[in-house]
Structure formats: structure tokens, C-alpha cells
């Protein structure tokens, strides 16, 4: 009784879970990075399922077979010390599983941290994404435009999001395109992703930042390259320029709708100077020189 109910409820929950998998956001990837993580997740679920089933079966067998009611009144359980071979199995099998998962983890982590698979040789589009309470500011340095709370990207081209924050630590997350990465005040993080299909994707801050956190979302629209180019040109022709005053207004705590400007805030309000995860041409991340620079900067302030 005890275990059966728990077993059934968990199997039931699991079935709902598995049947629903395809429609769950994280497991419905639209780009190589998210696809890698979705694969890892599914592999780990199946692996873990084996362990769960083994433990459940052992438990049920023990509980049914050895409960007092099913045994003679004068039965005296023996003294059993432990057995070398049993222990080797109990340690060995988990170690093998952990090694298996470790290999997958290391491989996939390098994969999602690097350039998206299949686009290694393409020139990435760089977009700066800055969080402020409770908005996202997207700057396109090449195209010289800036948007608030929404971002357009071309499909089939690697995108490099440069993440940082005005204020609390936020976490940039577009589950169908890639996993999260923090946007922080003292450091620029790089998030690599690419979209393979045109469409609208949910993006949000996943890390708690205070009162307006629940609504700190943004829309990601992936467009075929030609449409994307049209959009850029349209903005460049029609949007108002972003002034420093205007930008400071935007930074005020609160919620905003979607907004569009020409120019970016990068000139008058540059991002932090410490970089992480960006592969510089010489292959070093975040050189000591940069660290010292940023220290000096902050001393002067």
C-alpha cells in the first residue's frame, strides 16, 4: 500500500510529463544551443529513470517480502555485516553513471558556450542586451539602433548577446533558443545563440530583481535575413535618436512598453570593461590588463 500509492502517483506524473514533453518550451528548441540542452535533458531523464525504477522495485520487494505480517512469529532477523561485492556494486554502478553523465556534460557545456553548431564560420551579429529595473535595452552597434523590451534577430546567423546590467543581477533567458546567462553590473557576459526558424520567442529575466521582476520580459522575433534587413532600414529611417537624457529616463525603475531609437547608449554609457566568455582573437579571456583597467576606472569614480 505504502509504496504503491507513491509509485503510481509518480509514474502517473511522469507519464503526463513525458507525453507533454514536446510541447514544453524548453524541450521545443528553435536553435542549435537549445537543441543541445534539450537533448542533454532528455538523455539525463532516461538515465535517471533507470535509477529511480531500480530503487522503487528494490524498495517494494523489500517492504512486501519482509514485512512482519508476512513472516513467522518466531522469525529472528539475522545479523548481516555487509558484503564487499555488494558494496562494490553499490559504488561502481553510480560511478559509471556519473562518468557517463560527466562526459555528456563537459561536451555539451563547451558546445553551448561556444559558437552555435553549424555556424562556426559565420560572422556573428553582436547585440548588447542590458537589464535595468525592470526592462531590457538592446543595442545594435553595427546597425546603430536601439530597442527596449523587444529584439529582432536574423535567422541562420550566429548572434552574440553581450549581457550586462544597470543594477541587480538579472538572468537573460530565451528558453527556445538557449539557456540562461547572468547580466551583471561589473562584467560583460557573452551568450551565443542562433535561430533556425523564423518566429516569436518568449524572453525574460529569470533572476529575481525586485518588485517588477515578474513582468521583466521581452519578445524575440527571428526573421529571415532579408526581412530583417528591411526592418533595420525602416527603423533607421523612422525612429527618433536616443539622447543621453532620454536614456537616463528609460533607466528609471519601472515598466515600459516596446520602444525603438536610432543610435545606441553605448557611446555615452559604455558597458563594463571586464569581459567573460568572449573569445578574443588571441584566445585569452578577460586579460589581467582589462581587470586592472576596470579596477582603476572604479577607483576614479
Amino acid at each position: 500500500m505504502t509504496k504503491k500509492l507513491i509509485l503510481f502517483s509518480s509514474i502517473f506524473a511522469f507519464l503526463i510529463f513525458l507525453t507533454g514533453c514536446q510541447s514544453l518550451t524548453v524541450l521545443d528548441p528553435k536553435g542549435p544551443q537549445a537543441e543541445t540542452t534539450a537533448d542533454v535533458i532528455m538523455t539525463s531523464i532516461w538515465t535517471m529513470l533507470i535509477i529511480v525504477i531500480v530503487v522503487f522495485i528494490l524498495l517494494i520487494v523489500m517492504l512486501v517480502k519482509y514485512r512482519a505480517r508476512n513472516q513467522a512469529d518466531d522469525y529472528e532477523p539475522p545479523y548481516i555485516k555487509g558484503n564487499k561485492w555488494v558494496e562494490i556494486i553499490c559504488v561502481g554502478i553510480p560511478i559509471i553513471i556519473v562518468i557517463f553523465l560527466s562526459v555528456i556534460t563537459v561536451k555539451s557545456t563547451y558546445e553551448v558556450e561556444g559558437k552555435p553548431k553549424g555556424y562556426e564560420n559565420d560572422e556573428p551579429l553582436v547585440i548588447y542586451a542590458a537589464s535595468s529595473n525592470w526592462k531590457w535595452h538592446f543595442s545594435y552597434p553595427e546597425e546603430n539602433i536601439e530597442t527596449v523590451n523587444y529584439v529582432f534577430i536574423p535567422t541562420d546567423r550566429p548572434i552574440e548577446f553581450k549581457l550586462y546590467a544597470y543594477g541587480p543581477i538579472a538572468s537573460f533567458w530565451v528558453p527556445q533558443l538557449a539557456g540562461q546567462k547572468y547580466a551583471m553590473a561589473n562584467m560583460v557576459n557573452t551568450l551565443n545563440l542562433a535561430a533556425t526558424e523564423p518566429g516569436e520567442y518568449m524572453g525574460r529575466n529569470a533572476s529575481f530583481t525586485g518588485e517588477g521582476f515578474a513582468e521583466q520580459t521581452f519578445n524575440v522575433t527571428a526573421l529571415p535575413p532579408a526581412d530583417y534587413q528591411t526592418w533595420i532600414e525602416e527603423i533607421q529611417a523612422t525612429a527618433e535618436p536616443l539622447t543621453e537624457d532620454k536614456f537616463n529616463q528609460l533607466l528609471e525603475p519601472g515598466r515600459l512598453g516596446q520602444e525603438t531609437y536610432t543610435g545606441t547608449h553605448l557611446e555615452f554609457s559604455p558597458p563594463p570593461t571586464t569581459h567573460h566568455g568572449a573569445k578574443e582573437s588571441d584566445g585569452t579571456e578577460n586579460t589581467e590588463q582589462e581587470m586592472n583597467d576596470s579596477m582603476e576606472d572604479s577607483m576614479e569614480n
Binding site: 502517483s9 542533454v40 524498495l59 560511478i95 540562461q180
Partner: protein, 649 residues
Amino acid sequence: MEFFDRFAVPNPTFTIYASMVAIGLTMLAILVGITYFKKWGYLWREWLTTVDHKRIGIMYLISALLMLFRGGVDALMMRAQTAIPDNTFLNAQEYNEVFTTHGVVMILFMAMAFVMALMNFVTPLQIGARDVAFPRLNALSFWLYFMGAMLFNISFVIGGSPDSGWTSYFPLAGNEFSPSVGTNYYMLSIQIAGLGTLITGINFIVTILKMRAPGMTLMKMPMFTWSALITNLIIVFAFPVLTVALAMGTMDRLFGTHFFSIDNGGMDMLWANFFWVWGHPEVYILILPAFGIYSEIIPTFARRNLYGYKSMVISIVAISALSFLVWVHHFFTMGQGALVNSIFSISTMAIAVPTGVKIFNWLLTLWKGKIEFTTAMLYSVGFIPIFTIGGVTGVMLAMASADYQYHNTMFLVAHFHLVIIPGVVFAMIAGLFYWWPKMFGFMLNEKLGKASFWAIAVGVCLAFFPMFISGLDGQARRMYTYSESTGFGIWNMISFIGASMLAIGFILIVYNIYYSTRYASRDISSDPWNARSLEWATHSPVPDYNFAITPEVQSLEAFWDAKKKGHKLFKGNYKEIHMPNNSGVPFIMCCFFFLLGFALVFSMWVVAIIAAIGIFSCMAHRSLEQDHGHHISVEEITKTEEKLGGAKK
């Protein structure tokens, strides 16, 4: 008038005013009640000044149950708010306060207190000691914890609750983004309670290493005592990190330093690192004593010795070492790159190996046993399947690339509740039912106990399994609401139903305590479960001095072998027993600590200085005091033993 403005709650609502009135009336009722029944003297002599580890354990227990109630109400409010989309039961600010206080209260003031309660009550008995090594320090630990908890709990009626999460990440927790005094309460109350924990750590390490009964070598210690030893070692290594981090955070908030600020060379990532260098070992501080409890209960009711004692010891030692090497898994997404994340992924997954060994050993303890399903046993075997699910999802989270998708989502919330509830909470309830007769001399009702198990076990599954799904569907944690179009509604509704069942289960436990106190038979033996370790070798309830004659131990399961193989535990005759004196100083000193904390929260420097002088005066008093304890005479021991049903031989 201006002076008093600071005490106002920044976001008052009807509920808060109602609570203020309710708290005021309850306090008044308690004070009037104590005066009416002339219990002040009793309270002071028997409880406020006690240094007896058993009474201190019971005071921890009562506090833990109170805090469980507080944290539970918070939880129900959260689940009610998110049960339907676009709900307006709580606004964002209220929700933020509620999840913050829920986390802090449950981990630091409920679970920790529960662990301390059982550790205090059981450990000295299991090693055949008369008390802990430093009884008065033990009282100090309890009162520090208690005053810390009270300080934290008054925040919501005086000055406002903290609202930046139990993790309190800077810069969010800094003055710029959290201007109310709430986060000051967080920093100072945890600091005060944490000092108490650190002192307990030292106290119990010394107790276990130096005060074991003759013959009890380390490898003859009961498993719970082993887990207590390792837990306290982790405490001694982990809590100083928290102490330092909180001190730095307090200075940032009160004195304008820049340890964790955005500008002037501050480093926000430093807080996250400090927090988890303490925080991950902290979750093992909670779980290891729970493992110890299961290792006592499962053999008792399987009527068999614990399988693989040696590998159990090795695995907790391995877990404790590894627990300091994994903290980065709490922020794989901070941008430290693939190499660092890979290393911490592997170290994290490695913890699953010793944990797995323990699970298999418990399963093998059931093998060839003769299993009896008492309430304590039900909770212990119910723990295994649910904890396994929590544990394997932990391994999934440990895979850095996948964690980029789970981090900060409901998936994570599901993981840690499915390890903490079956792990810690089930163990504490199981331990409560198991040791209750030893504490109070009567048993809790088994029927009500089993009913509570079913409500709680089904409740946990309903409350937390749906979160795996909504997490994978993109629901971030800590969102006060979500729109209908997200489709999260159904999962959160199921979760709310589960939370309500959990509440019913806890109410059943409290009712059980009331019911059994009134109606249960007082005529029970000192060993009602037919158990195996030393605490069952003395009377129930336990006399002040624990054992009239110090037991002598020959084997691992000393009491069992005394019963089965006729080993003699108690040799010789009664001798005078030397016991420590009660003292009011720890209580008074901690009142000053409370005052100091309160004064610092509101930057009232004069009061703070006075309170600090009070604290140092108490310490000076202790240094100069002559106190050699007292002796219990042979006649008195004989009398007490007779009264409790005859000498234990």
C-alpha cells in the same frame, strides 16, 4: 514623533494590522496566563535558566514547531496567490516579502532548530554522557538562536520584512534597491542565530570526541551520533563564512562600505560566492542528521542491524568533504566559462555516489528483516522514493549545460523541496515520533500519526511534481503572478492542492500532540520500540543525570546486545554525580543581543552601545564567577531511580 516613524511598516495592509493586533493580544494573554497561574518562578527556574541538554532540546523543538507554523502560513499564501493566473490576493511587494521570509524561516529557524532539537536531546544519551561538554554554552546557543528568530519575526510588524530572497543577492539587497530596514533584519537576525549555531558546533564536537561512555570507540558510535559529529564539523567550517559575509553585508548597509556594491570597487559576485560557500554545506548540515535518524529508525523497525555500518560512516565523511567543493553549481550561469563549470559539474555529481551508497544500505537493511510499519518507520521508508526523485533531479541540475535551462525556474524549486521535505522534514517528524516517549514518557498516537504521513506524503508529491513541468515550460521562480496564456495555471493549481494537503498533515501532527498529551497512557516501558542504542537503556522520561551509573559499552549496538547477549551495561554501585548549575546569564546576555540587533536594524547607536556593554558585562561576569556545579547524593539517586520504576542494571 519623527523618531517613531522609522518603525512604521512601509507597505501596510489589512493583514499586517490584523496580525499586529493578534500578536499583541497573544502576548498579553500569555503574560496574564503565566501571572495568573503563578508560573513565573517555574518558567525561570526550570526553563529560562536551564543548562540541561534535554530541556534545551525541547525548547528548540517548540521553537521549531512555531517556526514551522510561520513558514507554513507563508507557503500557503504563496501557493494561494499563484494557484490561478493573474491573481490579486497578494501584490508583488507582499509576495516578495512572503517568499523571502518563508525561505529564511524554514531553513534557518525551522529546519536548523529541529536538527538542533534532536541532536541536543539524543546525542548525549546515545554516548552515555550526563550532558554536553559545555552546558552553559549550550544554553547560550539556544538563546542566541531564539533571539535571532524573534528578531527576524518581528520585522513584519515593525519596520517591514526583508524582500530580496533568502539568498539576498547583492546589489539587490543593497541600500539602493532595498531601502527598507527589512534586509537589516535579515543580516542581523541570521548573524545572531548563526553565532549560536557555531557555538553548538564546537560544543558538540568536543562532547562527542571527549565524553563517550567507556568502551565506545568511534567505530562503535551509533549512526546518529556519527552524523551529528560530521554535521558539527561542517558547521564549524561553513558558518564562519556566513558570519563574515553577513558582517560585510551589514557594513555595506549601515556604514556605507563597498564590499558588494556596484561602484567603487565593490563586487556583487563576491556575495553569491560567499553565500553558497556556506549555503551548500548548509543543506548538508540539514540532511546529514536526517540520514542519521533514518539509520536509527530503519534498523529498529526492520529488527535488524544497520547494513554496511562502515560504508555508511565513510559515505558521510565523503559527503561532508565534497559539500565544500561544489558551491559554483548554484550559479553556473554567472559566466565563468565551460572549464570551471565542467569541474564543478563533476564534483557535484560525485556527491550522488556516497548518497546512493546510503540509499542502497537502507534498502539492504530492510532485506531479511521483519518490518513493522510504525509512524516513524512509515516516514522513514516514505523518504526513500521521494528523496530518490529529488536526488536524481539534483544530478540533472548538476549538468551545467542543462542547468542553463533549469536555473531559477520552478524545476529547481521542485528539486530542493523534494530533497528537503522527505530528507529533513520527514526525518524530523519520524524522529519526533520515535523519541517522543523518551522525552515525555508517553507515546504519540499511531493512528493519527499514520494519517499525517499519508496526507504529507501525497501532499508533497502533488505540491512539487507539477513544478518540474511548469519549470520546463518556462516558469521562472519567484514570480508573483503569470498570465493565463502561459498555461502554467493548471500546474500551479495542483500544487496549491498539494500544499493544502501538507497543511492538513501538519495540523494532524499538532492535534496528535494535543490528543496524546491528554489521553495517552503514561504506563509505558523505557524501551517501547524494542530499540538498539543506549538512549533506551535509561528511564523515560530521562532523569536529570541521564544514567544513574555510567554505562560501559562493548559493541556497536550496545543496548541490543545487552538485551540479547546479556552484556552488562551498568556495573558497580551508585556514586555521587557532579552536575552543572543552572544560570540565568545566557538568557540575559541574549536579551542584550536582541536589543543590539534591534538597535542596529534601526541605526540607533546609543541603544546599540548600551546593549553591547550589557553583552560584555555578562561575559565578564562569567569570567569572574565561581561556579563549581552541584552534587547529587547517592540517597537522592536511589530515591529518583525508585520513583522511576527501579534501578537500571
